[in-house]
Symmetry: C3
Subunit: 247 residues, 3 copies
Amino acid sequence: GVAMMKLKSPPVNSLSLELLTEFAISLEKLENNRACRGVIITSSVPKIFSSGLDITEMCGKSVEHYTEFWRAVQEMWLRLYGSSMVTVAAVNGSSPAGGCLVALSCDYRIMAENPKFSIGLNEAQLGIVAPFWFKDTFVNVVGHRIAERSLQLGSLHPAPEAHKLGLVDELVPEEKLMEKAAAVMTQWLALPDHARQLTKTMMRKAVVDRLVAHREEDIKNFVTFVSKESIQKSLRMYMEMLKKRKS
Amino acid sequence: GVAMMKLKSPPVNSLSLELLTEFAISLEKLENNRACRGVIITSSVPKIFSSGLDITEMCGKSVEHYTEFWRAVQEMWLRLYGSSMVTVAAVNGSSPAGGCLVALSCDYRIMAENPKFSIGLNEAQLGIVAPFWFKDTFVNVVGHRIAERSLQLGSLHPAPEAHKLGLVDELVPEEKLMEKAAAVMTQWLALPDHARQLTKTMMRKAVVDRLVAHREEDIKNFVTFVSKESIQKSLRMYMEMLKKRKS
Amino acid sequence: GVAMMKLKSPPVNSLSLELLTEFAISLEKLENNRACRGVIITSSVPKIFSSGLDITEMCGKSVEHYTEFWRAVQEMWLRLYGSSMVTVAAVNGSSPAGGCLVALSCDYRIMAENPKFSIGLNEAQLGIVAPFWFKDTFVNVVGHRIAERSLQLGSLHPAPEAHKLGLVDELVPEEKLMEKAAAVMTQWLALPDHARQLTKTMMRKAVVDRLVAHREEDIKNFVTFVSKESIQKSLRMYMEMLKKRKS
């Protein structure tokens, strides 16, 4: 009754329009499959859980493209954060920005205890702002103060620090990660589904409803923001930097 | 100026309609007694603070009975959570579900440091869902993340873990519990009543108002839920299990 | 690009109408100065950061005076909490009540690790109630539970306890305080201003908007409250006590 979703989009599991769409469709299928009660999300790319939203989708594209892309980001989150399944993130690598959002949206986060792996909503470092529903999801996990500081600094927290802040629930040696994720899943699935699902909905409804109520406005904000020449310039610079770092 | 309320309804201090009604009336009398500025709530039943809502009140009864019962649960909580007195819970035994709610509604929680005693909102384990105002009370004490996880898992936390999570404020050896409760009460009563009461109201008003605004709807939800054959079945099974465990 | 504001109003940096007005005007000037990106707030009075609102402004004055005073308190907070600059409090002495509010309103709090220095919203000790926006600011830093307890008890937390509660972010030896504040400022200023500012606004908007929406009502509440004979009496007694303590 447990599915495993392995993000596999080398080199860094960027959340492209295609990957996001596949992600949301897979979640929908699992959701509609009564036999499936839980899903473990992990990466099959070494050292990276997910590098977050694919910047190439936000650079030099049309307004229509930005609109479609952002709707897909929202859709993935609405499906994952509002999932009635038990969702466990087995974070086996670094997980900045949108990658961190994926982990934060699960019911439980286990991370490989490698201090070289880091996680956080580091949007501010790129000159962009995490949307309000990224922020709401973050606040629900770590509380207002830690979120305020971490978001303003665009912090990427090494695994031990992320654990200390409550951003991840548990650290385990990398080779034990999947075993631990399975054990956690078993613990959560021991509960009767219906009561657990209603409880989850009760806890997350306010934050989900807020995006649902402001979805079109949020898309418009994103498109306006990302279309600005100054933002395009910083994104291009960031991409150049990434390319240089790789070579 | 300090009253002591000892829950005494063996074998496990179940919150029956009768006990809840007495509890609310006692609180009202103390509230109206100007000489009384604080109340310590504890149990005179060994090893149990309160086992929570009396399941027999929810099993095989009429809609009218369920309605009356739920109104009494609400009434007790409104009186206790909104009390202008200083309220200290001296948790001298286990305290699941509604028993935990009683402790959470006080101003301060001291628990006997016996790891065999546990406390938590474990409703999900019984296939039922903690009402939104149980959840709100819990979130106000432990924050959103701990509440989300604990409520979904229906966790009963052993005293040391409950302390670590902030569910209780302090652990003391069982024989020192009442002495410590009295000392805490003295500390809180050192403050001028009026300023302390207004401050308490300011902190708790949003959560109290939310139930007051949705009280009839909440009763209706409870009655509909508890009247379902599937829920009746799980409650009967749970009661059978408790009976077997006893014998 | 970093300004330093040193509170200098001996003997205890009371926030008088004059000091509050100067404070707000200085912040406004810095805010409008594009070259200035951050401000460090500290005290040039030994052992005291700020003793909070000046009680003489609340004692035996006219309704007009109370109104003007309270508007100045609000104005200072709106400027500081909503500042688009990076604000660091270098808390080099005790900081009760309104002094604590100044520190809480900054982006980061560093305190001298002297256990004789204490900080907290101790209004309840004086028989008065912290306004809702003091409370909201506090809850955003330390969370609901710690705020509820600390406000009801009117606690003044010694530096080590304040750090443990999250009321201050860091303790350093007094002689390292300014050096550390400068280092923190450098870290925060490494982020692009625009993204950091929008993020800060997103985090603080709800609390700022709440005062803006209820500003006149809040002034009226304060004036009514402080005009009561019983409150005037406790304030006079408190001032007598302070005078005696000094001599």
